[in-house]
């Protein structure tokens, strides 16, 4: 029983810290290279779509 509670408490501490680390990573600004890549991919696709239509 005591061990279970200790273990649960440990898991809680670990998950809390894990979430904190993860949250820090989530809040990092996304580098422009990814937004550029996405708009580039979108641009290519638009060109292809238009190409098909004609």
């Amino acid at each position: 029983m005591a061990q279970d509670r200790n273990k649960a408490r440990q898991s809680q501490v670990i998950d809390d810290n894990l979430k904190r680390v993860y949250q820090d990573m989530l809040e990092e600004k996304v580098p422009d290279r990814f937004l550029d890549l996405l708009s580039q991919l979108k641009g290519q696709q638009d060109k292809e779509t238009h190409g098909d239509a004609k």
Binding site: A2, R5, N6, R9, Q10, S11, V13, I14, D15, N17, L18, K19, R20, V21, Y22, M25, L26, E27, E28, V30, P31, R33, F34, L35, L37, L38, L41, K42, Q45
Partner: protein, 185 residues
């Protein structure tokens, strides 16, 4: 004009980078993997079922990229005490938070599968079932990986864990210390 599910991808970029970083523990490698995954996701959008969890779908692409690169490399590219860990700015706290530097180092010592399971379930909020599907393993496997990962972290963080426990509220502390000193019988 029809809705292109690909327009949703951008919303998942921060999570995708965080997941990549957790797996690789190396910023440059993580971003290369995100880049590869974005191109794959874009070109294989047909394999995405609209209405399902896009983040899970993207994470699956990313982890498949990671493990297939690892297989090609023929070994685990371990970056224990590596670039990412070293570049973090540390803010020691005394409010029950673990020392982040220690936590990162301990986290890096888990194997990839354990780290992945823990990030998916413990940090990203996926269910065991979702994580199992993403990793292509049984639910029980994910459960045992997360349990083992937590135990291993607890073991590696032992000293800080005691510190963290000391910082908990009085009632909890009483329970813990009471249990520690209570004799059986």
């Amino acid at each position: 004009m029809s809705v292109d599910p690909r327009d949703e991808i951008v919303q998942h970029l921060p999570a995708l980078r965080a997941f990549a970083l957790s797996l690789t523990r190396n910023g440059a490698l993580a971003d290369d993997m995100v880049q590869d995954s974005l191109v794959k996701a874009w070109t294989k959008i047909d394999s995405y079922e609209p209405g399902t969890n896009m983040r899970a779908w993207l994470f699956t692409i990313l982890r498949n990229t990671y493990y297939s690169n690892r297989r090609k490399a023929g070994r685990e590219v371990a970056d224990v005490d590596g670039v990412y860990t070293a570049s973090l700015s540390e803010k020691p706290a005394h409010d029950g938070r673990l020392q982040m530097s220690d936590f990162h180092i301990a986290f890096a010592k888990l194997n990839d599968e354990q780290r992945e399971a823990l990030i998916l379930v413990g940090a990203s909020g996926f269910s065991y079932e979702e994580a199992a599907e993403m990793c292509g393993v049984a639910v029980g496997t994910i459960k045992s990986r997360t349990n083992r990962a937590r135990s291993r972290l607890a073991e590696l963080m032992h000293l800080d864990m005691d510190e963290a426990l000391e910082m908990t509220d009085g009632a909890t502390l009483a329970v813990i210390s009471g249990n520690r000193t209570a004799s059986v019988g």
